[in-house]
């Protein structure tokens, strides 16, 4: 099967659902990556990935990760970052993208055990406060009370450590 956006062979098959209407999309690897990054429903030409003006594209070209030298424009066309430091280098550009994909920009999951105790605690507090918010929203007050106690004891611990 041919890619819907270029002459190559389609390897990815997407079923898009919008307003209850389903639409089939058949894309080659390259177009699919662009599709996933831009999530643009309109076909785009390869020379101009996101329908941007020449000056906007130059802007993207100037954004470079100092560590691996990937430009933001390369990321836009490949859909892959070059190194862990890219997340810092392109932070301002990535935040709206992450919001779009995940609806959030703060990790609240597993934390490596080898991380410094301090940052683990801070992180644990973020997680517990989020859970507390959710528990209150769901009106699970018993759970909320438990979480509040956990938060308080963790805050005390941090305060004690600060004084020492």
């Amino acid at each position: 099967m041919k890619c819907d956006r270029c002459p190559k062979v389609a390897t990815l098959h997407v079923t898009e659902i919008e307003k209850g209407q389903t639409q089939e999309l058949h894309l080659c690897e390259e177009c699919a990556q662009k599709y996933m990054v831009t999530a643009s429903p309109e076909p785009v030409s390869s020379a101009n990935p996101a329908g941007m003006s020449e000056s906007e594209l130059e802007e993207l070209e100037r954004l470079v990760c100092p560590h691996c030298k990937l430009t933001f424009r390369e990321f836009r066309s490949q859909g892959r970052l070059g190194c862990p430091q890219c997340y810092t280098a392109f932070r301002d550009e990535l935040v709206p993208l992450l919001e779009n994909i995940h609806g959030d920009t703060q990790h609240v999951g597993k934390f490596p055990r080898r991380a410094p105790v301090d940052s683990r605690k801070r992180y644990e507090l973020v997680r517990l406060r989020n859970e507390l918010q959710a528990a209150v929203a769901e009106e699970s007050y018993e759970q909320a009370a438990k979480l509040r106690d956990q938060i308080q004891s963790l805050e005390h611990e941090s305060a004690d450590a600060g004084e020492a």
Binding site: G82, P84, L98, G103, G109, P112, A115
Partner: protein, 356 residues
């Protein structure tokens, strides 16, 4: 254990046991991880790729995985062998088709596999038969902890585990359940299910994951979001919704049996008959017919065949498996004839079909 030792085996996800295994084929969790000191793979030249592969291979070979494991250097495998591993769900199509240093480490039971230099440096996967996400998470979390004692993962307090593609950042987790939904497909109800899933940010994919069309009425349901929710919460979202889909499929099956019994019985019997007598048959047609047969066994219309055998036929009739079983490479026409021969041998006369 050599690759060829796998050929006659069934593998974990085809065992056909576990909770709700009439509808849930398997439960799977994968974690995407990268080593902090290396660039991601699209910025890694050949020598860096090899170094990542060597580093991870050394650690994986020393890791306690609760039993014997094998490590295969995928870059040195023939195309047929790579395809064979894809069909068994031990590696992804991406790992099979990419280039340069890469490998896979998997356990004898085939329920743990660790891919090196796929889209990320490391992809850990745990697979269980039936609906059993808790065991998957327990097991994969332990493996991840053990690895983390040896290597430093790319991680940030804000964004969690850093991955090559921002769609995986945060937990790096993909929780998925492989469902067999023939009745929902037959009645067209499946569309409603997909629309509902989309609304709660769950993705629907075909049997072999990203980009594959549904074959044999198999669908993988998985989380799309990886950032901003804990692993437990993401697992919970699947654990909450899957029982509803199972219930829906069962309801529609019962309605079909009640209202269209003769028609359904005919369809299933014809499918079984075709599989037992065809002289040439494509992989796609085999999958579709086996799907009807599988439902027929579950509904009691077929009583001389077991689910594990049907599950095994799904995999053994895939192109690479067929060729590995025949110990030769075959073109498409020869494969169709060989597939039909294999099915006739396994399915008729009935007594021979279900020895195991």
């Amino acid at each position: 254990m050599e690759l060829n030792d796998l050929v006659p085996r069934r593998g974990e996800w085809l065992r056909g046991t576990g909770s709700d295994s009439d509808i849930v084929m398997s439960s799977r969790i994968r974690l995407a991880r990268n080593l902090a000191q290396f660039p991601f793979l699209n910025r890694a030249d050949d020598s860096v790729r090899s170094e990542i592969e060597r580093t991870l291979r050394r650690h994986l070979n020393e890791l306690s995985l609760g039993g014997p494991r094998s490590y295969l250097d995928v870059s040195h495998l023939e195309r047929l062998d790579r395809q064979f591993l894809v069909e068994r769900q031990l590696i992804s199509r991406e790992l099979s088709e990419s280039h340069g240093s890469r490998g896979v480490c998997f356990t004898e039971g085939e329920n743990i596999s660790l891919m090196v230099n796929e889209e990320d440096h490391l992809r850990i996967q745990v697979l269980h038969s039936g609906f059993d996400l808790d065991s998957c998470w327990q097991q994969i979390n332990r493996i991840d902890d053990l690895l983390e004692e040896r290597v430093t993962y790319a991680f940030s307090e804000e964004l969690g585990y850093l991955t090559a593609c921002p769609t995986n950042v945060g937990t790096g987790i993909r929780v998925s359940v492989l469902l067999h939904l023939p009745a929902l497909v037959m009645t067209g109800e499946v569309k409603k299910v997909f629309q509902a899933l989309q609304k709660i940010n769950l993705a629907v994919r075909g049997l072999y994951g990203e980009g594959t069309q549904a074959m044999g009425d198999f669908y993988q349901i998985s989380n799309q979001i990886t950032l901003g929710k804990s692993e437990e919460k993401l697992i919970r979202s699947l654990k909450d919704v899957i029982p509803n889909i199972i219930l829906y499929e069962r309801k529609v099956r019962s309605a079909l049996v009640k209202d269209n019994r003769a028609e359904l019985h005919d369809k299933i019997s014809r499918a079984y008959g075709l599989l037992r007598s065809a002289q040439s048959i494509s992989s796609q047609e085999t999958m579709d017919l086996l799907s009807s047969v599988r439902m027929g066994v579950n509904l009691g219309f077929i009583d001389d065949l077991s689910i594990p055998t049907v599950n095994e036929l799904f995999i053994h009739t895939q192109p690479a498996h067929l060729q590995k079983l025949r110990k030769t490479t075959l073109d498409s026409a020869d494969r169709n004839a060989a597939r039909a021969g294999y099915l006739r041998h396994r399915l008729s006369p009935p007594a021979q079909g279900d020895k195991n």
